[in-house]
Amino acid sequence: MSADHEHDTSLSGPAARVKALEELLAEKGLVDPARLDQLIETYQHAVGPRVGARVVAKAWCDPAFRRRLFADAVSACAEMGISGPEGGHLVAVENTARVHNLVVCTLCSCYPWPVLGLPPAWYKSFAYRSRAVSDPRGVMREFGLLIPDEVEVRVWDSSAEQRYIVIPERPEGAEALSEAQLAELVTRDSMIGVARVAPPAQARRESR
């Protein structure tokens, strides 16, 4: 590729190609630009990890819901009004004192959209996709998460058939918090498995 074709604004750059494609599809009546605006707004702001955080907090507070969630995450989320594309085969996996779960999509970027929104850039990176399976402890260490040797690490490879959400361990020192306050402690990374949920005082410090 010659240097004068490498920047985005060039004729064959991605921005120009996307614009041309959208215009052609709109002329054919196959896409509605207003609907595209809506979809972008939805996935940038409305759908995201705050939804999954509510599921985690409910699982911590409501033992009956927790059982239903691990038995059938799709139905349990539907109870909370949570559904949408790429969520049809959701599985919840439980972190305990003996087992730590980590989620990856080795082939592309499969991710449970209705509960976590769209994946962050690092989830789609070659480095994460290739190393999460071969060296999960090393990858988690790079995120600052040390998993003791005696804890079993289970890596879940997402696919068109199965998407995963990690239900992290409830932190110590959060006994007095309401379900809504607990949800505020739950981070996106903890539901992918590259972080723990920090205790309340620490979470406040980290969010500053």
Binding site: S12, P14, V31, L39, Y43, C108, P120, R131, E142, R188
Partner: protein, 108 residues
């Protein structure tokens, strides 16, 4: 050496935080793919199969050449979208090229 490079890549990308799209065209391409699958023009699974092929092909090139080109996920995504609509006979590469050519003419 190689491991060090990957570590720094991971460290760098982990700091990007909540940013989902790094340019407006990425959001547009995503919304087009989702909008077309919503409208039943193609299924998301059909699209995903091509996305996996595009990512896989770039990784074979990377392995062969020993290069590391990180962060072009949406380039693969766009190629997968272009191929899907072309294979479905909806918008061909020639139409896109023509549209780009017309715009170039208009800009001058």
């Amino acid at each position: 050496m190689k491991d060090r490079r990957i570590e720094s890549l991971l460290a760098g990308t982990a700091l990007e935080g909540d940013e989902i799209f790094s340019a407006p065209w990425e959001a547009r391409a995503f919304a087009m793919a989702l909008g077309l699958s919503e409208a039943g023009v193609f299924s998301w699974d059909e699209f995903r199969a091509r996305l996996i092929e595009e990512i896989g092909a770039s990784e074979r090139v990377r392995e062969r050449d020993g290069t590391s080109s990180h962060g072009n996920y949406y380039q693969h995504f766009l190629r997968a979208l272009e191929r899907t609509v072309a294979d479905k006979g909806i918008v061909g590469a020639a139409e896109v090229a023509h549209k780009l050519g017309v715009r170039e003419g208009a800009d001058r």
